[in-house]
Every structure is written in C-alpha cells, then in structure tokens.
C-alpha cells in the first residue's frame, strides 16, 4: 500500500467526519471539499487511461454541486439575516438538488455510470458506500419538501429500472442498483435518522460482499461470471445469495430495511408511494435474478483445473451474516 494512498484515504475519511459532525453549512461544505479533493488521487491510477477521465468527470460534477450548495447556503443566510429558518423552500430545494447531485440520485445521475466504469473495484466500493454518508447526512439535516422528495424517489426508481435492462458491465449494474437504493434511503430520511442508518449499514454490508467476490475473481462483465461461478461452490452460493439480498428478498438481510420502510409508509397512509416503490423495485429484482439464474443454469461443468485463491474464512463469515442476520435482527427487536 503506497504512502500517499494511506494519507489520502485518511483525509477522505476525515472530510466525511468533518461534514457530518459540523454545526454550520460552511464547515459542512469544507468537509465535502476535503473529501472530494482527497479521493481524486485515489481514483486516478497508472494502470488505466480511463481512470483519469473518470476522476476529472467526478471532480467537475462534484465541484459544481459544492458550488451550488455554498451559493444556496449563503443566499439563505443573506435573505434571513444570518438566521436560517427551515422554511425557505426555494433555496432549500436548490441545496437539496446539489446534495442529490453529489449522491448520484436521478435526475442528477448522468455522471454516475460513466465515472464508475473507469474505476477499480476498491474505488467502486468507496464510491457506492462511503461517499454517500456525507450528502445523506446533510439531506437529513435540512427538511425536504415532501412533493420534491416523492418526485426524486420516483425518478430514481424509474431511471434505475429502465437503464439497467441491457447492461453487461457489472459496475454499471451496481451503479443503477445504487440509484435504486438511494430512492429507498431518501424515503428513510422522511422517517428518522436511525432507520436510515439501518438501511445504509445493510446496503454497505451487501455491497461489500458482492464487490469482494468480484475483486477476488477479477470479474467486470457478465460474460466472465459464467466462467468463474462454477469453479467454487462457496463463490456460487455467496454470489447468488448476495444478489437476492440486494434485491430485498427474504430470508436475507436485505429484506429488513425495506420491511421497515414499507411498514412506516403504510402506517402513515402513504399507500401510493409504497406501492410504486415496491413495483419499481421488482423490476430491479428481475434483473438481478436474470443475472444470477442464467449464470447458474447455463453452465453446470465444474472445472477442477482452475483454482482460485479465495479467502474462504472471510466469505464464509460474511455470508453467514447475510443468511442469519434477518432472524437475529427480528429477535433483537422483539426482545427490546
């Protein structure tokens, strides 16, 4: 591990922590900028000419979003003479739009698949998990107009459902899956921050499982899965279970956060939005199942010659958590 990578990684973490723990919009903006500037050297590697293109595209979009965020914060302070009541809808919408651009939520998502396509798996994992913390925390700190948030949720779900259909690149599939999950996470921000935390933690866990498998087997495209999936039974089952968990199927852990969201929405009589979210997420589940079932059913031969070096301990432990966590969590909630 190179020294500069350790330094920039620490700065990236520090930037997010500054953004999430600050008391004013300026320090939040500062944290976001530190995070952005420290991730750029991590993204541009020497092994691929496309990674620097991705890094520049990411930098330009994120810098623009930070600019709009700062502008909205300053305008709110100027209009309200340095006291910011959370009633200023217009600038709040502008600020939330900037934060949604940072997340990659639709309709501000156009940079996301192109940037992800040029990254390594480790950088993809950072982009899909860690980079979401700061913008989502800031969205929770301000109030979002319910109509606006509903529009964003529906556009995220529709976009991800329509764009993921004919994809062959695994990174792009995970990108659109991320956009889908952002919609669910925005709905949790309407509930409470602890429900968002549960959703985010489960999403990170499942994503890390999937990306770990892809990194170990060096797969980037659907076609490569066919070759690798039958070499090792552990990989085969963990890959299948994690994708179904990502789709929100019980008895996997991925069902728990969706269950919480649907429960809250129905208790608050938001039947339309709940039904829309379920139906549009089913399309994503169809895509996951198409990926996993076709790679499992098309080729049954198990080659003995190819031996992959995999960390069995890691995969077995994490997949145990994927299988049994749902039952454990429901028991814990009942006991509490």
């Amino acid at each position: 591990m190179k020294l500069y990578k350790i330094m920039f990684f620490n700065m990236m973490v520090m930037g997010t922590i500054i953004a999430t723990s600050s008391y004013s919009w300026f320090s939040m903006w500062m944290g976001l900028e530190i995070n952005l500037l420290s991730i750029i050297p991590l993204m541009s590697t020497q092994k691929n000419s496309l990674s620097s293109e991705s890094a520049i595209k990411y930098f330009v979009t994120q810098a623009l979003a930070s600019l709009i965020l700062l502008m909205a914060a300053i305008m709110m302070m100027l209009i309200n003479e340095f006291i910011t009541p959370l009633v200023n809808y217009h600038f709040l919408m502008i600020m939330n739009s900037a934060l949604l651009t940072k997340l990659g939520a639709a309709p501000f998502h156009f940079w996301f698949p192109e940037v992800m396509e040029g990254l390594t798996w480790l950088n993809c994992m950072i982009m899909l998990t860690w980079q979401k913390i700061a913008p989502m925390t800031l969205i929770m700190n301000n109030s979002m107009n319910p109509t606006f948030s509903t529009l964003i949720i529906i556009s995220c779900l529709l976009t991800s459902a329509m764009m993921v259909f004919n994809q062959i690149s695994l990174r792009k599939i995970l990108t659109f899956s991320s956009i889908n999950h952002i919609a669910w996470m925005i709905s949790t921000t309407m509930m409470s921050s602890s429900s968002w935390l549960i959703y985010f933690a489960v999403y990170c866990l499942i994503n890390m499982n999937i990306i770990m498998i892809f990194k170990m087997t060096n797969t980037f495209y659907l076609k490569q899965i066919n070759n690798i999936i039958n070499t090792n039974k552990t990989i085969k089952f963990s890959y299948m279970m994690n994708f179904l968990s990502l789709g929100g199927l019980p008895p996997f852990i991925g069902f728990l956060p969706k269950w919480i969201v649907i429960n809250w929405l129905v208790n608050n009589n938001m039947y339309t939005i709940a039904t829309t979210m379920i139906i549009l997420t089913l399309i994503m589940l169809y895509v996951y199942m198409r990926i996993t079932f076709s790679s499992m059913l098309l080729n049954h031969n198990e080659p003995k010659i190819i031996k992959l070096k995999i960390n069995k301990m890691a995969i077995n432990t994490i997949n145990f958590m994927t299988l049994f966590s749902l039952i454990t969590c429901t028991l814990i909630f009942n006991l509490l």
Binding site: K47, S49, K223, R290, L298
Partner: protein
C-alpha cells in the same frame, strides 16, 4: 529536461524560443487541442431554410430509430455466452448501403500529397479499397512526408444524432477476411476520449497480406494493439478500452510508391478463450521526467 522546459514557458515567450530552434514548422508547447478535426475543416455553410428542411426530413428517421432502440432495450436480453469459433460480423460489404458507413480519405484531400484512394464494390459483392500511393511531397514548405490513404467507419450513433461508443468487451479478437496484394496495411481502432488530450487516441496493428488468389482470415487479438496519438507511438501503453471504441479504419501507407488494392469481405469480432494475454507491451521503470512525461 528539454520537453519540460517548453511546457513551463508562457505564450508570449514562444516566438523568442522559436528563433533559437532548427524547426521549420511551429512547435507545440501545450497539449491543448483547438479543434477536434485538427485544423482540417470541411464544413460547408448551408442556408438556414435548407437546414430546417433537411432537419425535418431527418426527424422522422430519428423517431423511428428511437422507437427501435426502446423496443430492443425492453425485448432483448444481453448475450451471455460467447463460444469459440463464432465470429460476430460488424461490417460486411455486399450492398451500396454498406459503403455509406465508410469514409475514404487521402493526403491529396487537403493538398498535402498526390495519393488517391477509393472504396468500391467488386463484381462479386466484396469491398475493394484501392488506389495509388505516392510519396512525392508537395512543395508548400509545410509538408515533410506524404503518401497515405485511409478508410474509416463513421462514428457509432444512437437516435437523434447522439454519439455513442461501440462496446466490444465480450470479445478479444478482431477478425478480418481480406485478400490483399502483398502490401502491409495498418488496422486502426479509434478510441476517441471525452477530453482533448484523448481525442486522437488510436490503437494500431499491422495487417500483413499474402497477395495470392486465396482469401485470408486474419485474427488479431486486442492485446496486441499499441496506442498512438496523432501518429506518435506513446511511451505509456495501456490495453485498449474495449467499451470506448469510436471507429475502425484501415490505412495504406507503407512508404512504397505504386498501386494498392485490398479486397475486404467482412470485419468481425470473436471471443477466443485460449487467448489469455491481457496486454503485450510494457515499459521499464525509467527515472522521473525523462520519458512519458
């Protein structure tokens, strides 16, 4: 240190620097590209009314294309199995329409040489790229070398004239069925990037032809293609980004005066599982700021 000094100089000192050099043409001091055509502008001005009329005619075609794309997106599943021995043909010559997908250029187009080339259909329905190469340099004081002809495919486009990329990630071999005249041709795969430094990224490999009456099926793995920009082979080589292909071309420019002819049946792609090489080239670790700056 020689190229580094030029990068650091400001614009107003360029004329001062040029006086001290032996170059007969202007020296590039920055990587910035002014024009995506490299200064060779072939745009003709069309009156606004004519443009509106042509645009309306195009609109119907573009809407039909858009409907087809949406239908294909929903109906077709991505192909997952690529078997060895299966060649997926990208460009096949057979009809006049197939010639519309190619553009023929030569050095005489902009008065930089005297070579001539053309792409026609033969009696048997194959494409014939033929012409005459001339390495005679025109006496204009600017041109130093001449003698090339080129055919290139049009950039991949979606509906409403949106530029897109060809995605060849599922393949690892380029397959060409050609019948040449014994001369060597250069196969070019352009991967034009988003930013100006990457506009002229083209990957090359040489196509050696037999010259006999028999057709040859040449399979070139993508791992063998080397990167160059504006004809200069780059120090830092990368494997070809197969998801960012913009166009494919063949050039005739082997510095030999005389006629050339290359008959092409098809250009296709194949996946060969036995070819596991990722990239054929590497660079030794050199001290900093000496090479590949």
């Amino acid at each position: 240190m020689y190229p580094l000094r030029y990068i650091l100089l400001v614009n107003r000192r360029i004329s001062y620097v040029n006086k001290n050099l032996f170059h007969t043409s202007s020296v590039l001091h920055t990587f910035w590209e002014r024009d995506d055509k490299g200064g060779y502008n072939t745009k003709t001005s069309v009156p606004i009314k004519e443009r509106m009329r042509l645009g309306l005619q195009e609109l119907k075609k573009e809407i039909e294309l858009w409907k087809k794309e949406i239908k294909e997106d929903f109906e077709s599943d991505p192909v997952l199995a690529f078997r060895p021995g299966e060649t997926d043909i990208m460009w096949k010559f057979g009809t006049e329409e197939s010639l519309q997908q190619w553009v023929v250029t030569s050095d005489s187009d902009h008065n930089e040489g005297y070579s001539k080339g053309s792409l026609t259909l033969t009696n048997t329905g194959k494409g014939l790229f033929s012409g005459e190469l001339s390495t005679k340099v025109p006496k204009d004081g600017r041109t130093k070398r001449a003698g090339y002809c080129n055919i290139k495919t049009l950039r991949a486009r979606k509906s409403f004239k949106r530029e897109t990329y060809l995605d060849w990630n599922n393949y690892n071999m380029l397959v060409l069925k050609v019948r040449g005249d014994g001369r060597s041709y250069m196969v070019n795969i352009a991967t034009r990037g988003y930013y100006d430094v990457l506009w002229n990224d083209i990957y090359h490999f040489v196509l050696w032809t037999r010259g006999g009456p028999y057709w040859q099926i040449t399979k070139i793995p993508f791992s063998k293609f080397f990167l160059s920009s504006k004809g200069r082979i780059q120090d830092k080589q990368y494997p070809i980004p197969l998801n960012k292909i913009t166009s494919f071309g063949i050039s005739a420019g082997d510095k030999v005066n005389g006629p050339f002819s290359l008959e092409i049946d098809y250009v296709g792609l194949e996946f060969d599982p036995n070819h596991t090489e990722e990239f054929a080239y590497e660079m030794y670790k050199a001290p900093k700021y000496i090479v590949a700056v």
